[in-house]
């Protein structure tokens, strides 16, 4: 039975999404509890699956019983199991916190939850897929649902969604074209099969073209500088529950795909003189600086967080680009830490400020719990122990030193300084500043508070328990361990 654990985290949110429109005919009020329950069940299943993988080894699951490379397979190994668990857990928190605000959708509420769960299905499907083309299918599944979710805000969200559609489709097309090149030169789409054939073809220009196209497509989806242009508008203007769902997990799944495809499937790429890793690391470094500097200059709280995402994703880019053991552990750990802290911050800001722009500060003065959680998440973004962010940056610093890249070491340290500046500005103005308008937001609804407090504990737990996470899960996930 434990073999089936590989497919269940995809099926549970998919089925829950499909029930939503049917259930809407009978009892629309059930939409929120069912969505949260489905995400929670997915988290539990993913955790059990990860435990099973760590004890019993990688699960390869042929869909329909058709063996690869002819059939499509789903692969759950320590890295994909870990990523699925992170995605599902953060989505659970976001869906729980999004409930009170999603009521604004009225009769469209069940459709909102259906789309949100399809986003989750697509991201999880991408992560567990063992087939390059299937990754594209799930990527588009989650992307199309995200476009609709972002656009559901109307007004400026529509313009942001349109830009997101154009750039997202370009990213997906680059990826698909790259996969086509690789298929032309190797004749296979299965990742394991492809990895075995890559050494024979690594001199071919089709292969190199494929690698470059895939790297560009995925870097765009990940929001890495200079391909991040779609990101700030999307996370600023998307309806608040949508932003707090997409911002933490969508770019992380793309980051995972970069790791999976460039490091595990197309490994010998550096050997033929194509510096994909170096470029990725420097794109990450520039993301850190660019995102951090622009975040400081923002006057809208959600835009600040969006640029902070560009910066934080940059850390993951640096780790994946350097690709030594410490850097990879740091990158994987940062997938977890950034997902947690960005979910907490988007939920906190969404519950407080909505769109008032944070020049009108002090709106959150009546919200001590929300403010505290925001500060905890901010400390994690800066990298203050025992919050989780400290440890992922620590590993990344080690990685830059091992790779003898002192400039990147400096960039990572500078990034933390920039984070101090923008996080201070955010928390000071939103939750502590003098209110220009005589309006103070009351403390958030219980569901939001539960979600925020759980996230805050998770941020600290990810820091305190980082040795356990690294030694039990992540060291099994770096390529040299295999």
């Amino acid at each position: 039975m434990h073999r089936q654990l590989a497919i269940l985290p995809v099926l549970v949110p998919l089925v829950a999404a499909l029930i939503q429109p049917i259930l809407a005919l009978a009892s629309p009020a059930a939409a929120w509890p069912i969505a949260v329950a489905a995400a929670a069940v997915t988290t539990v299943l993913a955790t059990i699956a990860l435990a099973a993988v760590l004890t019993g080894g990688t699960i390869r699951y042929p869909l329909g019983g058709w063996e690869p490379p002819w059939g499509i397979e789903v692969v759950l190994d320590p890295l994909s199991g870990f990523t699925v668990m992170v995605l599902a857990a953060v989505a659970t928190a976001s869906l729980l916190a999004g409930g009170p605000q999603a009521r604004a959708y009225g009769a469209r509420e069940p459709i909102y939850y259906a789309l949100a769960l399809i986003v989750l299905t697509g991201l999880i499907g991408m992560v567990v897929s063992g087939d390059l083309f299937n990754v594209f299918v799930f990527l588009e599944l989650s992307s199309i649902a995200s476009y609709a979710l972002v656009g559901s805000g109307g007004g400026r969200a529509l313009a942001a969604a349109f830009r997101y559609v154009i750039l997202g489709t370009m990213g997906a097309s680059f990826y698909l074209l790259g996969v086509g090149f690789l298929y032309a030169v190797t004749g296979t789409l299965n990742m394991a099969d492809l990895a075995a054939r890559v050494p024979d073809v690594s001199g071919s220009s089709l292969y190199l073209g494929g690698v470059v196209l895939i790297a560009i497509g995925l870097a765009l989806k990940m929001g890495l500088f200079p391909l991040h242009w779609w990101l700030p508008d999307v996370y600023t203007y998307a309806p608040s529950p949508v932003a707090s769902l997409l911002a933490p997990i969508a770019t992380k799944a793309a980051a995972y795909m970069v790791a999976r495809i460039l490091l595990y499937v197309l490994r010998p790429v550096e050997a033929v003189g194509l510096p994909v890793g170096t470029i990725l690391a420097w794109a990450g470094g520039l993301s850190i600086l660019f995102g951090g500097i622009l975040a400081i200059r923002q006057t809208d709280a959600r835009r600040l967080l969006a640029y902070s995402s560009v910066g934080q994703v940059g850390y993951i880019g640096v780790g994946l680009g350097l690709a030594n053991d410490a850097a990879l552990v740091g990158a994987y750990l940062h997938i977890l830490n950034h997902a947690l802290l960005k979910a907490a911050l988007f939920i906190a800001v969404g519950a407080t400020a909505l769109h008032v722009g944070f020049r009108t500060g002090g709106l959150g003065r009546g919200m001590p719990v929300t403010a505290t959680v925001a500060v905890v998440a901010g400390l994690s973004a800066v990298g203050v122990p025992p919050a989780g962010g400290f440890f992922s940056k620590w590993y990344l610093l080690q990685g830059t030193l091992e790779a003898r890249q002192p400039l990147l070491t400096v960039v990572i340290l500078l990034g933390s300084l920039l984070a101090v500046a923008y996080m201070y500005r955010l928390t000071e103005t939103v939750w502590r500043g003098q209110s220009a308008v005589p309006r103070v937001t009351p403390e958030a609804q219980p569901a939001v508070l539960i979600s925020l407090v759980v996230l805050a504990f998770a941020i600290v737990a990810a820091g305190v328990g980082n040795t356990a996470i690294v030694s039990h899960v992540l060291t099994a996930a770096v390529p040299s361990a295999r």
Binding site: L18, I22, P62, G64
Partner: protein, 145 residues
């Protein structure tokens, strides 16, 4: 809003053709195994019948048969049927989407054959429901907005 088309030729012809269209959709669905056709085509033809109904008899006539929420439920129900056909594979310990694991007193090949028909039926419902919703949404759009 689409009005009833006041022409005897159009309404009489539509009255004749709509049931035939729906029958043909069923034919295309169940014959998908042996001849050109299948779930997607059947769904498109099924939706075309309803769209013809709206064009010939007006939007209200369509509302008497289907509404948007029902179509959305039909669409997701179709995909659910697709997914559900794959679930027996999980329960029996084989694999998701392994249709030979369907609990039927048939040979594996025959069970797969039937499984594909179930899947195609789901696709028909999903495509028809989606297309009708798309049509209704575009038809109801205020042209001045």
């Amino acid at each position: 809003m689409i009005e009833r088309h006041e022409s005897v030729v159009v309404t009489t012809f539509a009255r004749l053709v709509i049931p035939l269209t729906h029958l043909f959709a069923l034919y295309v669905l169940v014959h998908g195994h042996e001849s050109p056709g299948g779930g997607f085509q059947a769904g498109v033809i099924l939706a075309a019948g309803y769209i013809l109904m709206a064009l010939a008899f007006g939007r209200e006539q369509l509302d008497r048969h289907v509404n948007e929420r029902l179509c959305l439920a039909l669409a997701s129900g179709g995909v659910l049927l697709y997914v559900g056909t794959g679930v027996p594979g999980i329960v029996t310990g084989s694999a998701f989407l392994d249709y030979s694991a369907l609990p039927l007193p048939l040979s594996p090949a025959r069970a797969r054959w039937l499984g594909i028909l179930l899947v195609e039926t789901g696709v028909t419902a999903a495509v028809a429901g989606t297309l009708i919703v798309l049509f209704v949404r575009l038809a109801d759009r205020d042209p001045d907005a």
